[in-house]
Every structure is written in structure tokens, then in C-alpha cells.
């Protein structure tokens, strides 16, 4: 029924009192694939992962993980997955080694296996030197690595990573990305939630954008970018009073209405680098001085903005589009 799918969810709904946290999520992850679940805070990313990892029962809909039903076969699901949450869920008074051995024991693995596996993981995650120190003394990046190591003790084929790098400094984030890419290269299926567009871009082949508990877009990063039109031109003017003139100049070369953000004017264009030349001519004809002029591929930020009407990391979301979606979503 669910073939060789690692994750298969149909019409997942979860309500908390009056709040409809999930409003009919469909999700498919094939084995060996990395899927990024992208959305702002409160979009329903964590709720989705909690349902798939058997921590929460869906109000409606059904889901299988590794071919097992998350409600009826929770134990089989738990044996097949590793879960790393938003906060490093390790025991900070136990040493790194003790943490791994404890979790190994709770997976009902043989003590001999747990011993060997713990050493392997400590080594692989570069924690061997700190293995006998209480996790309390670890840095944020080390804790995350230990947390991820703990979820790999039983060699799960599917890994759920709920905002794995939230709160990490850039260097630790890069390190963790490396680790995740390595796991993927070895065949692990990963479902990853993130609110960092860059992270989804870096790690995931397939991106599912959710907002207000619904899937609003789905595709590869390239597909999503194409969906809102190809390249964008972006110019920054030196003199703020000339912004309106700049808009007029940009409009003459663009394929869509320019957006203005303070000194910056951006607009979708087609035709590659000749557009740049034309833009410069148009600006020059008006005598507008620019401090910056670029042609760039749209980022996932642009995708998100065009899909939802608000930025991905903006929590006080725009009211109008939200209302529209809710209207369609309600029964």
C-alpha cells in the first residue's frame, strides 16, 4: 500500500483546542531522499514531525513511517527512526559516553553492540576527547552533535531533524550540515524542518513549504524559484529622492512590477545579462546614480514572499493573505 516510501502522510489534521495547527498535510518522502519542511514559526512543522515520530496522535488523517502506521504500530516506527528535536535532548549530568550507552540500552540493543557503536559515534562526531565529561560542559555545537549521535545509536534508516541548527553559530551550523550531508550520502532518509531558507537550499533535494498548517508549495528548490519567475534585477540608489525615477527606469526593462524596499528597487526580468546593459542605459538616461546593481536568481525568501505575502522569518505575518487562505481552508 505504501510501497517503498519512507514517509507517507495523507490529510494530517491536528487541532489544539480551537487552533487548527495542521489543516490537512499530505507528505511523501521516498527512501534515501532528503525533504525539507519549510515554513515560519507556527506553520505546523514541529507538529508534523511530532506526529510522524509518534509523539502526538493526529486528530484526523493517517501516516506511515517505514511502512508502519504511526498510531497503530508506534513501536515499529520508533525502532526505525531517529529524532533530533529543537533543543538538545540529552542528559547534561551524564557524560557523552553515558548518554549514548543509556539510549542504546533503551533501544534494547545488546550491551556489546552499544559499547562499540558508542565509540564509533563519539569518534565520528569528534567527541572522543570529551566523552568522559558531563554534557553540561559541552558547547552548543557539541551538544547538538551528541544529540544527533544519540539518535543514530540504533542505525535508523529514517531521521527526523526538527530545526537541527536553530541557535547555533555559523561555524557549528556548517559543521552540522556536513554531518547531515554525510549521513545522506550513506543512504539515510532525512525529513528536516527549518525556517532557514538557506538551510533547506543546502540540504534538501525536495522542499515542502507549509504555512498555517497547509502545504502551499512543493518541489525542488530550482522548481520553486522558477515558479515565481526567473532572475531578478536589484538596484540600490544613492539618492533616496530618486527612488521613484529608478522604479520608472527599472519598469522599462522588467517583466513584472518592481518592488521597493527603502533605497532598493527589485523586479523580475528575463533575457540574462543584456537586461543589465539595458537597465544601466535606462538609469543613465535619467541621470540616476546607483551604488549597487545586481542580477540574481530568486532566493527561497522571494519564493516565500510571493507565496505567502510575508517573509519566512517574520512572525507578525501579513493579515490579508492569511485571511484568504483560512477562508479556503475552513469547512
Amino acid at each position: 500500500m505504501t510501497r517503498d516510501l519512507a514517509v507517507h502522510a495523507e490529510g494530517l489534521v491536528r487541532t489544539f483546542g480551537d487552533v487548527r495547527a495542521l489543516d490537512g498535510i499530505d507528505l511523501t518522502v521516498e527512501r534515501g531522499q532528503v525533504v525539507g519542511l519549510l515554513g515560519p514559526n507556527g506553520a505546523g512543522k514541529t507538529t508534523t514531525v511530532r506526529i510522524l515520530s509518534t509523539l502526538l496522535a493526529p486528530t484526523a488523517g493517517r501516516a506511515t513511517v517505514a511502512g508502519f502506521d504511526v498510531v497503530k504500530q508506534a513501536d515499529e516506527v520508533r525502532r526505525s527512526i531517529g529524532l533530533t528535536g529543537q533543543y538538545a535532548a540529552i542528559d547534561e549530568y551524564l557524560t557523552g559516553r553515558e548518554n549514548l550507552r543509556m539510549f542504546g540500552g533503551l533501544y534494547h540493543l545488546t550491551p556489546k553492540y552499544v559499547k562499540e557503536r558508542s565509540e564509533e559515534l563519539l569518534d565520528w562526531f569528534d567527541l572522543s576527547d570529551a566523552a568522559d565529561r558531563p554534557a553540561k560542559t559541552y558547547s552548543g555545537g557539541m551538544r547538538r552533535r551528541l544529540d544527533l549521535a544519540a539518535s543514530l545509536v540504533a542505525q535508523p534508516s529514517i531521521l527526523f531533524l526538527d530545526e537541527p541548527t536553530t541557535g547555533l553559530d555559523p561555524r557549528s551550523r556548517l559543521g552540522l550540515w556536513d554531518v547531515i550531508n554525510n549521513l545522506v550520502a550513506q543512504g539515510t532518509t532525512v525529513l528536516l524542518t527549518t525556517q532557514y531558507l538557506e538551510e533547506a537550499d543546502q540540504l534538501a533535494q525536495d522542499i515542502v513549504v507549509i504555512d498555517h498548517g497547509r502545504v502551499i508549495a512543493h518541489g525542488t528548490s530550482e522548481q520553486l524559484k522558477d515558479q515565481i519567475g526567473g532572475d531578478r534585477i536589484e538596484i540600490t540608489v544613492t539618492d533616496p529622492t530618486r527612488v521613484d525615477d529608478a522604479v520608472r527606469a527599472v519598469r522599462s526593462v522588467s517583466t513584472g512590477e518592481p518592488l521597493v524596499e527603502e533605497f532598493r528597487v527589485s523586479a523580475p526580468v528575463s533575457g540574462g545579462s543584456t537586461v543589465l546593459v539595458n537597465a544601466i542605459r535606462a538609469l543613465d538616461a535619467e541621470g540616476i546614480e546607483v551604488s549597487d546593481l545586481v542580477l540574481r536568481r530568486p532566493t527561497l525568501d522571494d519564493v516565500f514572499m510571493s507565496l505567502t505575502g510575508h517573509a519566512a522569518e517574520d512572525e507578525t505575518t501579513a493579515v490579508t493573505p492569511a485571511k484568504g487562505r483560512r477562508g479556503r481552508g475552513s469547512k
Binding site: R50, S53, T54, L55, L56, D75, R78, R79, I81, L83, G85, Q86, Y87, A88, A89, I90, D91, E92, Y93, L94, E98, M102, F103, G105, L106, Y107, H108, L109, T110, P111, K112, Y113, R117, E120, L121, D123, W124, P134, A150, S151, L152, A154, Q155, S157, D178, V179, N182, L183, Q186, G187, T188
Partner: protein, 282 residues
Amino acid sequence: MATLTMGTPQMMRRPLLGWTIHDGLVVARRNLIQTVRIPEMLFFSLVQPVIFVLLFAYVFGGAIPIPGDAGADAYRNYLMPGIFGQTVAFAAASSTVGLAEDMHKGIIDRFRALPMSPPAVLVGRTLADAVRQILVLFVLSITGFIVGWRISNGLLPAIGAYALLLLFAYTVAWIGSWVGLHMPNPETANTAGLAWLFPLTFLSNAFVPISSMPTWLQTFAAYNPVSTVVLASRELFGNPTGIQPDYWPLQHASLYTLISCAVLIAVFATLAVRKYARTTSR
């Protein structure tokens, strides 16, 4: 970066005692390691009862007469089992706060996503909190000896008294676990979550004879298992008991303690395990 082994790990066969006991022991071990790693917590959990011993023995002691026993050391001998009873009742506190912290840190989520036996987290918690009381009772007993408390009924009954106290600690640890699972955060657990322990331990014969209380309070105190575990300990240690009002639990202190512990564990273990299954952190 070297490759990490991926494949099928070796699973253990089901141990003789079942997974709940196996997993419970793994969790209990973890909780006991925590105790060793945070010596200041253990230290402060000992300081309060030791201060109570000194306070009651030297400050209040002279003002509290023990009916039926006028000896100079009567109150101190009467007091010690009361302190034991009150102290082990506070095993519930570490269960409440410990679980609230585990939920807060997301470690309960991780446990719940493991293929482990679900009640094991609570079994391990209560077991560790009861085991910790062995050390607490040991330190308190030494303090007692110093202020003049004596075991005067032989070794075997004394062991019985300690066993009964530990059973009681295990019982309240289950109640504390159930309370802890309802706490929204560790801060609340540390205050509101412990509030019930004070009336429970003071509305008993732990510090004053029940016969000195107004009648309506006597009824509550007589049926309070804190009273009967304390009274049973006094009998087993051979310490003065005072004169007991005519309530069945006070006439059969050991039996009533065993029955009420069994009933309370059955009720609160069921409630706590059920609550745990539905618990979501944060």
C-alpha cells in the same frame, strides 16, 4: 570523514524480568548518576532534615510532652521516626521536580520516541528517588544517635521499620510523579508542585501526638498514612508512641501502612502512566 556503519544492529532478547524492569533500571541508573554528579543537591536535601532534628530536639522538644512517657529523652526518641517519615515523604519532591525538568528539556520527548517500555521512565524515576532515601535515612539515623535517639527493640524490627519507610518513599514518589507530569515548567514544580507535602506531613503525628489535636483534625491525622508509617516505625524501633486515640489505622499501624501504600501505588501508578502516554513537552 569516515563512513559510519549502517545496517541492522543486534537486538537483545527479552530479558527474564521483562522490558519494563530492564528499562526502568536503565533510567534509575541515570537518575542516580545525576545524584552523584550534583552533590550539592544531595547535600541540601540532607541539611533540612538535619536542621529539623536539631530544632525540634533542642528548641521545641521541651515544650511538647509525650503522654505516657515522661523520660528526659522521650521527645527525642519520639521525634526521630517523625523526622524519618517527613523526610521520606519529600522523596515526592524530587520526582515532581525531576520529571518537570525532563519534560522541559525535551528528554521525555526523546524517551517517548524510543521503542522502550513506556512506564519505565516513571518506574526508574520512583525507584531512584526511593533508593536515594537509603542514604538520607542513614545520615539522619547517625544524627539521631548523636542527639540521643536509640533503637531499643532489636535489629530485625528496626530493619522492618526502615523497609516500611522506604516503601512509603516509593509510594509518595509515584504521587509526586503524577503531580510532576502536570507541571507546566520546573519553576512551578518547585513551588506549587510541592505545596501538598506540607499539610500532609504536618497534619500527622510526626512532631506532636495526635491526642493533642482537635477531634476533627484527629480523624484526618489518624487516617493519614504519614501518621501510620511514623507510628509503625516508632513501634518497630521501640520508641515512645504516646497514647493512641481509638482509630483503626492507629491500632494496626503497620498493616494500614502496607495497605494504603499498595492502594496508593496502584492508583497513582495507573494515573501517572496514563498521563505520561499523553504528555507533550512544552
